[in-house]
Symmetry: C2
Subunit: 323 residues, 2 copies
Amino acid sequence: MLTQDNYLDLIENYLAQTDFPAEPELLYTPISYSLAGGGKRLRPVLLLLSHALFSEETQQALPAAAAVEMFHNFTLLHDDIMDHALLRRGKPSVYAKWGENVAILSGDAMMIVAYQLLCRVQSPRLPQVLSVFNQTALEVCEGQQYDMDFENRQKVSVVEYMHMIELKTSVLLAGAVVMGALLGGASEEDCRALRRFAIELGLAFQLQDDLLDSYGDERLGKAIGGDILEGKKTYLMVTAMSRADEAQREVLRSTHLDATLTDAEKVARVKAVYDMLDVPHLTEQQIGLRFERALAQLDAVDAPAERIASLRAYAESLMGRQK
Amino acid sequence: MLTQDNYLDLIENYLAQTDFPAEPELLYTPISYSLAGGGKRLRPVLLLLSHALFSEETQQALPAAAAVEMFHNFTLLHDDIMDHALLRRGKPSVYAKWGENVAILSGDAMMIVAYQLLCRVQSPRLPQVLSVFNQTALEVCEGQQYDMDFENRQKVSVVEYMHMIELKTSVLLAGAVVMGALLGGASEEDCRALRRFAIELGLAFQLQDDLLDSYGDERLGKAIGGDILEGKKTYLMVTAMSRADEAQREVLRSTHLDATLTDAEKVARVKAVYDMLDVPHLTEQQIGLRFERALAQLDAVDAPAERIASLRAYAESLMGRQK
């Protein structure tokens, strides 16, 4: 049985073998640059682990895994333009390095290359896989639009926020595991269970990301408070807003705009409100709940126990909950 | 046998029936807006006329025709951002009306919807059609990148310019006719001939567009000289540059930047150089040559004469050469 690291190597090799023309340079160089940026390759690894539940023909699923990673990187290129993000995985974003037009057009090309990769899949189930991919891709765009909408809105409910991150983050994980399962020959029922697994895992993962941004991860020693300083609507923020009185709401709304405060003071002031409202604890509860729901779905999947254990272990490692 | 107008109606109806979700509004409203902008529907009509050479099952080809039109409109959304174009077909562009982020993301969604439409095609040849579509889409991006590259370059040769417009304009016409032919059951040989037909037709069409922008179309009474005022590298400009002496070259390079001249003076000054260098006549020759080459390809196609005549008549009407 292949390990997580084996899968990661397979993906890296497959992506590295994807050749691009030399010209026009400004179309193709940013694609290679973006792919070389690394990352966990979370989505393709999930696709291969899901595929492995039902099949040992890993090669068959590799083009789809690469397509999902390519699509994910396309979304990063365009998101970085919309967010004016200058850094991506510690390096200049394509937007920062080459400008907006190049980031738009290289991103477009990446989406087309994702479809080219997907069309390499040799399977009678390709039409179903394409259909899942199309639906997933469109939902990711919906999620990004809601995210932008929310930044311009005063009030966002917790339910609206959860719907947005389901679209923006979870559905691509779900698309990946369903595509892997379909190619492995899974039943409709197993595809549905794996979809629920990935949706809940994605929510847990995103909420944890929100929590760590404000409360940090001692293991990583990462800078804390970026979301607070940007006034971003995170799970912490929308939960706090839903529980705050008028005075607290004002602090949550306006602190990041207050030019008389240092960054550290801003972060401390908002976190003081979060703490008063029990937000970190409520977030941890929600993460735990979502993650438990995710794992519970795996019990229903008809596949060899050690393969399910392997997917489960990967999910746990993602959440920093290795056994 | 269906007429051009029948085909146009079929396409308009099919596009009008393509429903989009109500939410998120800023993702989907610009798509409907863009599609409602009209236009000649050149690419889908060509696809259906090409399909009709080999098959009477027009319904079978409609999703592909709609996909090609959707893809074309996606390119317009993103091109308008890159060109900062405020108008499209006489109405505010999506970029002007909703801003850049909406134009990026709605454009992305349109590309995905194009694939969704394409995947509706019921044909054992869908994999080939997808492959043609992917390759075409990527080449259109290459053409757009070359076009942007050229704007930043001092010198562009006529050969380079022709290569750029082949990618930017011709390949999508070629992709459309090949997809139509494939779905109609055409042989490889017929697909190749139709591809050459569309490549040459696209070149003739683009060169005519370049010529009319500077020398006008008395039938249309359109404003003249937009390309000259923008200093755009058109067929006229690159041809003139290749034949100009140093003094003429300087006029061609700098006139559009000269703040002491009125627009009418700028246009007159550049056109005087074009005329001295015989550029309008050379351009007309090139258009005639390309168009003849296009039509000659049709002689080799194995299809009923009256169907070929119908495609030929459409090509002639595009070039304003109705018999």
